[in-house]
Symmetry: none
Subunit: 420 residues, 2 copies
Amino acid sequence: MSTIKASVCTIGDEILIGQIVDTNSSVISRALGELGIRTCRMVSIADDRAAIINTLSNELENNEIVICTGGLGPTKDDITKDALAELSGTDKYVRNAEQEAIVHQILSARGLDVLDINLRQAMVPDSCEVILNRRGTAPIMAFTFEESRFGHPAVLYAMPGVPYETEAALPDVLKHIKLHFESEPIYHKTIMTYGLAESALSKLIAPWEDSLPSDMHLAYLPNPLTGVRLRLSVYGADSDAEKRVNERIETLKPLLGANLYSESDDTLEGTIGRLLRGTGRTLSAAESCTGGEIAHLITTIPGSSEYFLGSVTSYAPEVKQKVLGVKAETIEQFGIVSSAVAEAMAEGVRKLTGSTFSVATTGWADAYGDEHEPAGTVWVGVSGPDGTVSRRFQYKGDRKRNIERFAASAIDLLRRYIAK
Amino acid sequence: MSTIKASVCTIGDEILIGQIVDTNSSVISRALGELGIRTCRMVSIADDRAAIINTLSNELENNEIVICTGGLGPTKDDITKDALAELSGTDKYVRNAEQEAIVHQILSARGLDVLDINLRQAMVPDSCEVILNRRGTAPIMAFTFEESRFGHPAVLYAMPGVPYETEAALPDVLKHIKLHFESEPIYHKTIMTYGLAESALSKLIAPWEDSLPSDMHLAYLPNPLTGVRLRLSVYGADSDAEKRVNERIETLKPLLGANLYSESDDTLEGTIGRLLRGTGRTLSAAESCTGGEIAHLITTIPGSSEYFLGSVTSYAPEVKQKVLGVKAETIEQFGIVSSAVAEAMAEGVRKLTGSTFSVATTGWADAYGDEHEPAGTVWVGVSGPDGTVSRRFQYKGDRKRNIERFAASAIDLLRRYIAK
């Protein structure tokens, strides 16, 4: 069975001028991937009749499934529906009574009058099948094309462009796809590593990678803040695929060691949550150069209030001394960016909050630096029941980027300490 | 002069499978728009040699400028460079000494060995012009095509796909574009507002907007975290454009009042810096639900160490009491999310750090809430020489989104207090 190919097309001037970022394509392609359907292209085009017809024709020639979103609103600049009617060879519209009822329902819930322009939303070209949109006024339309038209059977789906409506309608579209196409099964597994650059990782695991069977594909997805994500995929997966992939991952683990932090698509701060939740152990942070970013990341995790007690951002040296109890002599002797200050900050905030673990940062995020350490340097301290440790990291970004990388390095050092 | 057309192509399996959302296209098209260049299409394709060559050829046939990003990494799955060499009719590579020096610099700053695979990054097809990438190892390549090839002169730019590197390299690419293409002169002025929704703002300034001369265009660019950005543009701008636009902005100011916070493209936290820097006045923060996000935003501003003394993230009620001196009775009587607690936190951290101003938050970022306040509510307290004030805000997002909006609302209330 060959893989079914799909294309996702987003329509709207606001995407082309860069006013909004298109997130629909990503949501749709991920959902198609779960069905084993491969998204081969994503295209964004303006609200322009000729561009819509040309692009969709071209995508239909090259793909069995084309999903377009956007341009279905009631205003003048939304012209997708007319373009689709022309593409499917009709100029007749029919009223869809069920969608019209939803239009009435939605507008009256918002306390709005139902205008002619709203009712027009429930009119669809007679060439399409309607999938109801329960969250919005514009119905989803499915246009089926015979093999004679594009050289293969093809279906074009037109969905609303508002992400909330697109997501809500997606399961019904997928159901329609499953009824009309028999797709190749696919199996993906993602694991997360931190601490090795892509090139070093690739060198380390080259023998393992070279020994993979030919139907297994490895992808490196590096991100400076979350590390390198490794994805192992089996296309045309049989019932054994999951087991076979897991066996390979097991043989990879000893090579990765403590650099492996998640066997799913988790973040470093999510991993901290996994390690602490339900254990009664708690955490605090003392931040200088990272200025609150560590606390922010930790608290983006739902349920973090169970283990995160709080943090102190000590930007001024006086706050380090007064609130965290770092001695003036320590700062003077070793410098404000030093192993000694990072460890004293970690110990100070642990004492202040009574937490089980603590993490602290002191560094130069940008153009400064002093006689002890250059710009781009951070010292991270971690304290806990096994004592206090510290480590130095160095980066070469701008201020904002360094802050983010400092925070990621600190959370990773904390993770290694807790996991040990 | 006709408008120059551009296409933005992003390359990478991780986009097609929906693992990451493509933000580069949006950043690039916005930047092109400022030069008066219209982005007509955005296309995302997989790391597939034939797809890359076919798509780029097709885009070059229809556009004078094609910018592609991604697929330039050092590993086996990054094949864009070879595809570009083929497209431009060469198989010869040359070493770029300057980029190679940057490769050495970046890796040694990270304490990493320079491997052969890294040095290969500095090898480029002999058909291209190199624009240095100072933030990463892969250089930007510009391929110029004569009119005979695609029916019009065209330039193809290949940029790295990591958003941080793409953004950093963009100004140099735009400079190259300005040298090679004559685009219609254009004058933009952007001002920033916070506190009015797009619809309310549009209603408020409708008479002013209707009176604009026909060559001036107003665009509303709403963003929940930075407010509504207003951009006034004059296409085909003459030498008077700047003066004429500024005169119009002057007549708009009384309508906007304190909602206007910047007459350039500044952020709320940047505005705080502008208000405090060089005045000797200082700032501290106490955060509960925002968990460090306010301190993080404030300290992303270069030079913030001049006025930002520090902050306390008091996630646990004990930290609120012990470190910030909020009385247990206050919490008990009014609830942890209340005007009284927000004001006590602001006063507590101001006393602790000795700062001129302070800002504090206490709220329910997600599914919780109590008998006093529902989820999505935040109380913001601001304290300073004129006393302490507080205000309640309510939002309806998920946890992460609410935290971001709480922080923006808090920084805005602080800004209004300081500016008064």
